[in-house]
Symmetry: C2
Subunit: 388 residues, 2 copies
């Protein structure tokens, strides 16, 4: 594979993308905008089974067409590709390790749009080889403390890591937290609705009902599943583990907090899965049985409403007490988490020594391929600005 | 003055600070935190009359003590300073021009914490000399289009400009807008409460009153003035020109909008100053006469309230129509600008092609020395990351 970094007068960074799904595709569309393509050149696009190499001299302006040359990971017999392109079968691990072994003088960049633990565990090796990493993949930052520490240790002036889209997609959350800490602010508390799915479910379920009958919890989950807002198995959202991963990522950026040795598994996390439904195999069956527990959820909703409050599933980092946890909390009707939240929006508030009276708040869509890709590509631009 | 950029093994950027007021002082405290001081070294601290040079070898760890060595701009006979420091009388213009004439191989950085038009007009010259500029000073970006264009043209890989704190202090507003645009999003509308003073005044004035009597407009302005929330002459806030400057800054980042030839003066701006009070010389007299116009403001408030709305003074960029304007608008009680805004907070919403259903919102304190300095110092870190 070519690792030339362009002519000496117009330096350009070779880019390798792994994970050509919805987010990866959007990343490719944004990163081939002419002003970005002048500095970042897509050299390889890959999925779990195949890699498509693009010669330095090939035209990249129609990335949609180029993408059709990459065989799907379920394909068994790849079609021939035109000159200037090359398809190879690979394993993800072999592909990424191959990058670290290739000779290269200049800066290089891997964009990881998979949700692969295998790729995440190769970040230290990539960084030590001088390959920067930009990713929305939460795994590397929310698994064991050992992996996280290894990544921090392996970073260098040539091996950078950017991860804005690991929390809240394109919303400026990671960069804001980093700026607060780097400039010496003291974090008191970080609190956020960090799951688009759970945001939608509780925005629908827990809105004050003026007359009429509130929708039941199970009905809302059913609709959310039908509309594609949940994972195929809604229990994967209701477990809270996605929120726990994001909270783990944020808390590791706050230097005063204790290490979470087992990553997101070390975050105390309230599950919304009724214990009787803990081992239901399919999403369909889960949704079918959920109505048995509507009374339980309705009682919680009613109790909150009677107190002038709504339910929200939030992640909370109490930096003063050194505590991190995910679970259901209640917020007064006029709290920003109640009054101004709707749809599947994320919202996060940073309470700090400087933002003491009222927090710094960021709100907006926290999921979706286009906004996730935006966070990724903005990070790629920062890498180019630093390395070129 | 020394322009050495440290030993070859530990490169460091010499930093010149102009404007040692409240914000400048906070910047100095943050920028001398050890992990930042390792890359950015304060070499000169100056006000409109004097400059204090700090030798490369002098200890900077107690910046509070060092600051006492800079004579106040009203001082006529500076006291002697210890070895390793040097005080010189100067003009702002002479000082900044002197920097551009000094010999230097490495990167250098000017932090402009003044609100000086003179300094702003020297940015192109600084940039062409390879001196980067970080500033919360709005002047350079909200005055004539000619100056703004000259700055854009004079930027280079060694002469960078960062200006996060020109809008909303440390809130991530400029960087967010830049990221949206750079990654190819389409701006539809930007709308914001961008003046802390006017935010406070209308949050107090226009909150729904349940029984009891609402405070009058003039009473609220009087209290705001007493508490230091307004300029010494409240008309300087009520004119809306501060909002117009911020709106000009934002709109110039949106490439599809028409140029504002005269800067903020080209922004249609609704003034809240009653025409009869347009030429009142002092803030005290202004506040004394304002009650004559309470009926006028109360009628507007009442009309909004009867429609279930509150008044907010906002800046609006309608990118679809190519229109920019500042003025009073009405928002329904459950709109984020109404329900979740309080105190002197700023709030801004970005409506884009990607954030279409619901906008991306940033909210929090938009003024204050510590949060303004945070935006400045975070920018300085970015300059160091790019130039070292």
């Amino acid at each position: 594979m070519s690792a030339t970094s362009g002519s000496p007068t117009r330096p350009v960074i070779p880019v390798y993308l792994v994970g050509a799904g919805l987010v990866g595709t959007q990343v490719l569309h944004q990163i081939t905008l002419p002003h970005i393509a002048a500095r970042l050149r897509i050299d390889v696009i890959s999925n779990s089974k195949y890699q498509l190499e693009v010669a330095a001299t090939s035209d990249r302006s129609n990335i949609g067409n180029i993408l059709t040359l990459l065989p799907s990971s379920s394909s068994t017999s790849p079609k021939p590709v035109p000159e200037g392109f090359k398809v190879t079968k690979h394993t993800l691990e072999g592909f990424v390790q191959g990058l670290t072994q290739a000779e290269s003088g200049g800066p290089r960049l891997l964009i990881d749009c998979t949700s692969s633990q295998i790729v995440a565990e190769l970040y230290p090796q990539l960084l030590r080889s001088g390959i920067s990493v930009v990713t929305p993949n939460k795994k590397a930052f929310s698994s064991s403390q050992a992996l996280f520490a290894d990544i921090q240790k392996s970073k260098s002036r040539r091996g950078l890591v950017y991860q804005e889209s690991t929390v809240g997609a394109g919303l400026p959350i990671i960069s804001t937290l980093n700026d607060l800490i780097a400039t010496g602010d003291k974090i008191n508390k970080i609190e956020g609705v960090l799951s688009g799915t759970l945001s939608y479910i509780f925005n629908e379920f827990s809105r004050p009902v003026k007359g009429g009958k509130a929708q039941s919890f199970s009905e809302i989950v059913k609709i959310a599943k039908e509309q594609g807002y949940t994972e195929p198995h809604p229990a994967d959202d209701l477990s809270g583990s996605d929120v726990a991963r994001k909270l783990c990522i944020l808390s590791r950026l706050v230097p005063t907090l204790p290490a979470l040795e087992k990553g997101f598994e070390s975050v105390p996390t309230e599950t919304l899965i009724p214990s009787e439904l803990a081992n239901i195999a399919t999403g369909a069956e889960f949704v079918e049985r959920l109505p048995e527990f509507d009374e339980h959820f309705e009682a919680m909703r009613k109790e909150a409403e009677d107190a002038g409050q709504v339910l929200r599933y939030v992640g909370v980092i109490d930096a003063k007490k050194g505590r991190v946890k995910c679970g259901l909390e209640r917020y007064a009707f006029d709290h920003p988490f109640a009054s101004s939240l709707s749809g599947s929006d994320n919202i996060i508030s940073f309470h700090t020594a400087r933002y003491a009276k009222r927090p710094l708040i960021v709100q907006g869509a926290g999921a979706g391929a286009d906004v996730t890709a935006m966070g990724v590509v903005a990070d790629c631009i920062r890498v180019a600005e630093r390395l070129l």
